[in-house]
């Protein structure tokens, strides 16, 4: 099981690394496009994942229920942890804090790579956005890192 974990982390890391390398060779204006391509890939993966993971679970009562599901079951299956802290303003904005985000543990803690971190989080933001969209919630997901390896995902639900 732990070798699975290593392979999955390493594969994800390599895949992002190669994409990021492309990023660094491009002009700054193209970088934003590449990051959104990464996020788009995450979106599609999130849609498929949520279909599989909610196959047997009962209907969700409301938005908060959906967010709790994302924080517990979904996060456990995908990132092998649960969200440590969920905050909301009860008006459609949620902040999910993960103190030991699985995809950041390989980068050294400390300030050295703080500015590189958002590129590594783009895919995961896409996964969350895809999952929510397939459950019926349109959202905008952004991530920020202040102290490695903990990070905060901010989800803003778009109301029609």
């Amino acid at each position: 099981m732990s070798s699975d974990k290593f392979l999955q982390d390493y594969l994800h890391f390599t895949f992002i690394q190669s994409h990021i390398y492309e990023l660094s060779r491009q002009r700054p204006t193209d970088r934003a496009v590449s990051v959104s391509v990464l996020e788009g890939m995450g979106f599609r993966v999130g849609q498929g994942l949520i279909e599989r993971l909610t196959r047997d679970s009962p209907s969700f009562k409301d938005e908060l229920d959906i967010m709790k599901f994302v924080c517990k079951d979904f996060w456990t299956k995908v990132f092998r942890r649960q969200i440590d802290n969920l905050r909301t303003n009860h008006q459609g904005t949620y902040v999910l804090q993960d103190n030991k985000f699985a995809l950041l543990t390989q980068l050294s803690s400390g300030k050295q790579y703080l500015d590189q971190a958002p590129k590594y989080l783009a895919f995961s933001c896409g996964v969350v956005r895809g999952a929510l969209s397939n459950l019926g919630l349109d959202s905008v997901v952004t991530a920020e890192v202040s102290v490695m390896p903990s990070c905060k995902f901010q989800v803003v639900i778009q109301k029609l």
Partner: protein, 139 residues
């Protein structure tokens, strides 16, 4: 054994519809379409109700024909509709539920296929195979 099976997307357009090619196929399409209204009613009436498997039992839709229409909704608001001939009374509730389970499993596989875009009509041969297994075999 079903007479018609349909998969309807969240926005209420058909992703997949297949019926036994006997007579007027449009009649089945119409049946599925009208059953959508009842499905919507049931979804919006969910306050503290049970899981996401809802039964849709319509006795006599037309004076001339007898059909039973069953519905099922996934968490991603995709609806499955199965139409069976109600002269086939040997079909029990459990069998219908297991048919829906198989459909849902197969649909999940289609969604995870990276070559399939969500919202496009379903063109998977495996899915076709599963559905054929559930339809009435004619000649």
């Amino acid at each position: 054994m079903a007479v018609c099976i349909a998969v309807i997307a969240k926005q209420n357009y058909p992703l997949y519809i297949r019926s036994v090619p006997t007579q007027n196929e449009l009649k089945f399409h119409y049946t599925v379409h009208t059953s959508l209204d009842v499905v919507e009613e049931k979804i919006s009436a969910v306050g503290k109700s049970l899981g996401d498997q809802r039964e849709l039992y319509l006795g006599l839709l037309y004076p001339t024909e007898d059909y039973k229409v069953y519905g099922y909704v996934t968490n991603s608001k995709v609806k499955f509709v199965i139409v069976v001939d109600s002269s086939n009374t040997s079909l029990r509730d459990n069998e219908i539920r297991s048919m829906f389970r198989k459909l849902h499993n197969s649909f999940t596989d289609v969604m995870c296929n990276p070559f399939h875009n969500p919202g496009d009509p379903i063109q998977s041969k495996t899915f076709d195979g599963i559905v054929s297994g559930m339809m009435v075999q004619t000649g």
